[in-house]
């Protein structure tokens, strides 16, 4: 299980691959991997977005993410979990968040990764401030609910 906060862009594919290779005890044991990647878009709520600054509460972020991963591990038979999250200045098309869950069976991988993402969205202390093409800045006020409304 690994949780990392990145102040610089990360390559999601290299990260997952490296983690999967480094976790030798996983080899041959996992049958299912569910990965979610959230990426910065160049538009939001009808406006062109130039960039974003992601603020976080160092320490609490890691503590809450560890709790969330522990909750998921109690509810589903999870073999391993990787959670990466960006902070700082982010440009469109850069990955913001990565959640990868390894399990034996696919239902558990889907359920656990979705649980972690929803919990992260509602409880991990991150805040996004968008810089619009118009040069205006705005704090995002609320994460929509991915479970109920099917939106992010």
């Amino acid at each position: 299980m690994n949780i990392k906060i990145y102040a610089k862009p990360f390559d999601p594919w290299a990260e997952i691959q490296a983690y999967q290779h480094s976790a030798q005890d996983m080899a041959g044991k996992f049958g299912a991997t569910s990965i979610f990647i959230g990426t910065m878009r160049d538009f939001n709520e009808g406006d062109d977005v130039k960039g974003m600054t992601l603020e976080h509460y160092p320490g609490m972020t890691e503590k809450q993410l560890a709790k969330i991963v522990a909750e998921a591990s109690q509810q589903w038979p999870v073999i391993d979990v990787l959670v990466l999250h960006r902070v700082g200045d982010i440009l469109p098309n850069e990955p913001i968040v990565l959640v990868a869950v390894w399990t034996s069976h696919r239902g558990d991988a889907f359920d656990a990764s979705r649980y972690i993402m929803e919990a992260l969205k509602s409880r991990a202390p991150f805040w996004k401030k968008e810089l619009l093409k118009s040069q205006a800045e705005r704090w995002l006020v609320k994460n929509t609910d991915g479970y109920l409304a099917g939106s992010s």
Binding site: Y57, M60, W127, N143
Partner: protein
């Protein structure tokens, strides 16, 4: 007792400070901490509070050395 108070994101910008260090005598709740630090400002609706990096209710009691944080709803992910 000594309480460290931290503010984040839009709340930090609105208040114009990122932290306060307060001294209390006797029992204090999270709401008391806010009132002591911001006597002229009502706690904005939907503000979240944490003590020592765990979420708490506003009537939660604080202890010497605690770090109390106030911040708007989170928008990560």
């Amino acid at each position: 007792m000594s309480i460290k108070v931290r503010y984040f994101a839009s709340l930090k910008e609105n208040i114009g400070r990122s932290e306060d260090n307060l001294e209390f005598f006797g029992l204090a709740t999270v709401a008391d901490v806010w009132r002591a630090a911001n006597p002229d400002k009502v706690l904005p609706d939907n503000t979240l509070a944490a003590v020592n990096m765990d979420y708490v209710e506003l009537n939660g009691v604080v202890n010497d050395g605690d770090e109390v944080a106030f911040f708007p709803p989170v928008t990560g992910g």
